[in-house]
Amino acid sequence: MDEDLDLINRTEAGEREAFDDLVKKYQKPLYAMLYRMVGNHEDASDLLQKAFVKAFTGLKSFERRSTFKTWLYQIAINLAKNVYRERSRIELVPIDNVIIKRDPRTLEAMIVNENRQLLRQALARLPEKQRITLMLRVQSEKKFEEIAGIMKCSVGTAKANFHHGVRKLKAIMLEMNKRQQSGEGSQKQDNT
């Protein structure tokens, strides 16, 4: 029998150990996905707890047509979408506030950090389905079949969302880079 199904059956029978095992199995990867979606620990932690509570209180409605993992991720993503839509996720950390350590890799770290900021901003501008598909594929390392189950779409649609998402993300980042460079260029002109 599937390990998760066995844990679910034992949880439903009231076995506390099975309940704890299920939580421990999925808490870290689920937290990581949620953190990437909402951008801060408080929201991610809150969503993690809500997702588990919703899953365990609704265990009787789990039809077992998909895996428990897929079902849990569906719940978590739906909860995260609501938060994402309501609040502004982008935590813009001005580059000046970055603590500069006396390290030969400082400049490289700054560039990487700046690129990561741009990436977060670019991801925020993607359509929801493309953004979630990209995150599940690249950051949560899910296969397209799993993504299709979570997103309730076909494998072909999941792949198409991924392709379009990557293409659009590149275009957005290129545009943002150009703006940044033209902004820096005009600043240099002002200084001189």
Binding site: R16, F19, D20, V23, K24, Q27, K28, Y31, A32, Y35, R36, H41, S45, L48, Q49, F52, V53, F56, T57, N115, R116, L119, L123, L134, M135, R137, V138, Q139, E141, F144, K159, F162, H163, V166, R167, L169, K170, M173
Partner: protein, 206 residues
Amino acid sequence: MCNDKDIKELIPSYLDQVLDEHEHEMVMKHLESCGDCRADLDLLHLMHEELVPDPGKAYWDEMPSRIFRAVKARKARKWSFELSWLTERLILPRWVIAASTVGLALVISWFAVQAPQRGPVVTVSQNDEPAHEIMVSDAVPLSDLDHDQLATIATWARSELVSIAHEAAPVMANTADTDFYEEITELNTNEAERLSIMLDQWEQEG
């Protein structure tokens, strides 16, 4: 722009280093000559390396207990919500119950007041007059009745008493016989013999 969807689909797996040898070789060879796919790889690598801060061991150790308590609390709230939902749906609001009770009381009292006011319809015949029906209706003081009305009521009352007496007579007789019979059967042998001697003496004396 590269339109090789097969390669593009494999890039995330290439990044995860989970491709088999043949696929790995294929992607690596393609990347050598395709700038577009190399850009994709860099971008996805940046995404992949996005750091998620670790809240710490204590956080993870405590999480199952925290969730367990939250699940218990949620189930308890759900039960009380369902109960209140049920009572609200099946048990009528108080004002409805109050209104229904008052309405029912009014209906019952109306019937209770009305019923005695309807009296029996009786057929009476007086002297040579043809029989006609009268109804004993609302209570009326006898002083308000004229002579003919009083006579009609008296005739009706008499006929009612007669019918009651006729119905009661067999019952009274039977009751008397039944009582006497029961008393005789309760006598023992000596008493029964003594009663018989007494009856013979009364007969001889006349």
